[in-house]
């Protein structure tokens, strides 16, 4: 894992003291809210429905045990004993006191963490593949490149006041586990015919009010030009992005309005100019960062077999584990979606337990996934049963990964001041409706995603089944979308028709699954069947 050098630490420590002073001045009254608000937002501190909310950055979703333990301690010491893992691979606390915020940031800084650039119109936390460094199918570990981008984008003076927020994802395998094409910039690390590493740039994707799939604008940027090319993409956006209209200010609108070809032409022209400016950090810097991401001391010659005699364990292994690139190891997913639970929430005790288990069974490492789950990336198969037993005892062993029970849901109207409708109760009802093991197994992979408003933090456009909460004359109402998907074959969900009440949407989801079960052919997932038969039979069942 990356460890701060003294520059990183000094930057973060300095920011804590700056914010401490700003907070003091706000409370004393020498700083008005209109002046303080942008400062607190730059430090991840929002004012939400019930209190201040602090969003903490988890760079590319990677955490050490020590950091995870601190996240649990913060939940206890300053919040109400829990945290919420988000679709940006971050964690949020919902009940923060302004006067505590500087102390929390100081605690975070003591474990090389911060909340900088988790809000505002700047480059946000870089996201990545949660299985980075462990996945059998990656061509290289994407995290050093994500870290290089993190360092470039942190406090970048030119890009702290962009037209709108800006999100970048970096992956390194054909299986896109980071919804890369739904980002402002999606970078896929690839190899060319000569075996050299480069970056394919997808620019102008996003969800929200106007969902767009990012087009490929350059299939191979040499790796020693990664930062310069990123800079060129941002510069063109910063120059021409719509600052006059918040709803048209994201880069996806610029790329769409200019057209992919014209946007690309401008980026290439800017890139040619920037190449002469010597912006690119020396490759030695990338090598320095890479040295932090060397393999943990994997053991050789470990057996690959697992005793699956315990049926509950066998179920969890089948559902929640993924092949590791090293023999004798496995990637284990912790679902933060217990039946009837709040997606993404974990108690302070659960967070600390996962920290301890990562220390004991996963070389001190954890990952946060954009599906609001936690990953132990490097578990010896010989330890897996013990790990599962300890997770199970803490209600952390729900076997439902990528099933209809593994619902992504934003905080919605229970916590979020922008919401139109509650997301969490809908997720709870659906997970209870489909809780039976045979139902989950019969339905197979079915990704269901819920947002409480058009901002789409719950990725509803990308759900095989998506749900969007809307406000219909002061009453919560829910639109149903079908056919969305993230990954290599990204597609955007289509609205089925008129919306439903809170209970009605749960019934509607069930009807959609009934259509799937009636229509599916051998081996088809829900998404495959939808793509083959189209919307008509679903509409018929829902409204006919």
């Amino acid at each position: 894992m990356y460890q701060y050098d003294h520059y990183d630490q000094a930057m973060v420590d300095t920011r804590v003291e700056e914010f401490r002073d700003q907070t003091r001045r706000r409370i004393e009254g020498t700083l008005a809210e209109e002046n303080f608000r942008p400062l607190r937002l730059q430090n991840g501190l929002y004012l939400q429905l019930h209190a201040y909310m602090l969003r903490v950055a988890v760079p590319y979703g990677t955490l050490s045990s020590r950091q995870m333990r601190m996240l649990g301690d913060i939940a206890d010491k300053y919040d109400r004993g829990y945290g919420h893992f988000t679709t940006r691979q971050n964690i949020q606390y919902n009940w923060i006191k302004l006067e505590d915020a500087p102390d929390i940031l100081a605690d975070l800084a003591s474990v090389e963490m911060h909340a900088i650039q988790t809000s505002g119109n700047c480059i946000r936390n870089i996201s990545s593949d949660q299985y980075a460094g462990a996945a059998a199918d990656e061509i290289v570990d994407p995290r050093p490149y994500a870290e290089l981008l993190r360092q470039w984008s942190s406090f970048h003076p030119e890009f702290l006041h962009l037209p709108r927020k800006f999100k970048i994802a970096v992956i390194a395998s054909d299986t896109d586990r980071a919804a890369m094409k739904l980002h402002d910039i999606g970078i896929q690390l690839v190899r060319n015919d000569k075996g050299e590493i480069g970056a394919a740039f997808y620019v102008g994707g996003g969800m929200g009010r106007t969902p767009m799939i990012a087009p490929l604008i350059n299939p191979f940027v040499p790796i020693d030009q990664l930062i310069t090319y990123s800079e060129a993409c941002l510069r063109v956006y910063n120059r021409y992005g719509r600052r006059d209209n918040k709803y048209k200010a994201r880069i996806k609108i610029l790329v769409h309005e200019l057209g992919k070809d014209e946007y690309t032409r401008q980026v290439e022209a800017e890139f040619a100019h920037l190449l002469s400016q010597g912006l690119e950090p020396p490759l030695a810097e990338l090598e320095r960062i890479k040295a932090h991401f060397v393999d943990p001391p994997f053991e050789e010659g470990l057996p690959d077999d697992l005793d699956l005699g315990d049926p509950d364990f066998a179920l969890w292994v089948k559902s929640n584990t993924v092949a590791h690139r090293r023999p004798g190891y496995v990637v284990a997913n912790v679902s933060l979606k217990p039946v009837g639970g709040i997606p993404g929430d974990a108690s302070a005790d659960q967070i600390r337990l996962m920290a301890d288990l990562a220390r004991d069974y996963s070389f001190d490492e954890l990952r946060v996934t954009h599906a609001q789950n936690i990953v132990f990336p490097h578990v010896r198969k010989a330890d897996l049963y013990t790990l599962w037993q300890k997770l199970d005892a803490a209600d952390l062993a729900t076997a439902n990964l990528d099933s209809i029970g593994d619902i992504i849901a934003c905080p919605g109207l229970d916590y979020c001041s922008l919401a139109n409708a509650r997301s969490i109760p809908v997720a709870q009802k659906i997970s209870e409706r489909f809780a039976a093991r045979d139902r989950l197994e019969t339905l197979g992979e079915l990704k269901l995603k819920i947002s409480g408003c058009i901002n789409a933090c719950g990725h509803h456009h990308a759900g095989h089944i998506g749900i969007l909460g809307v406000d219909r004359k002061g009453v919560e109402n829910y639109q149903l979308l079908l056919g969305g998907c993230e990954g290599a074959d990204t597609s955007l969900g289509q609205i089925t028709g008129p919306g439903f009440s809170e209970d009605g949407i749960v019934d509607a989801v069930e009807k959609a699954t009934d259509v799937y079960l009636a229509q599916r052919q051998d081996g088809e997932r829900f998404l495959d069947t939808y793509r083959r038969v189209g919307m008509a039979p679903f509409k018929e069942a829902l409204y006919g």
Partner: protein, 98 residues
């Protein structure tokens, strides 16, 4: 009726104007009629409240109830965590919210 709400500057807690100060309980809220703007300006300037605004409400037999669900959820707490609401011991407390 029009009532006033906002957040406590230091703690962020949701608060309601009770005619002479700010209360955690929406039942204490009073109708401010046409005086919303002047009260809010004064109270914001004194840092007694942050991010304040006026909302529509009704007086019911149980007390003051904000008209919109968002304000009703603000008034009590998250509907999915009754233990974290203002009335954790009262399982029926959420009935009027949703």
């Amino acid at each position: 009726m029009k009532i006033l709400t906002g957040n406590d500057l230091r703690t962020g807690a949701v608060i309601w104007w009770d005619g002479s100060g700010w209360s955690l309980h929406v039942e204490d809220a009073v109708d401010v009629g046409e005086h919303a703007a002047e009260i809010l300006a004064r109270e914001e300037a004194a840092r007694h409240v942050n991010a304040s605004y006026a909302v529509d409400a009704q007086m019911t037999a149980e007390g003051v109830r904000p008209a919109h669900i968002k304000e009703r959820i603000r008034a009590l707490g998250p509907t999915v965590r009754p233990d974290l609401t203002l009335k954790p011991a009262d399982p029926s407390a959420l009935n009027w919210v949703i």
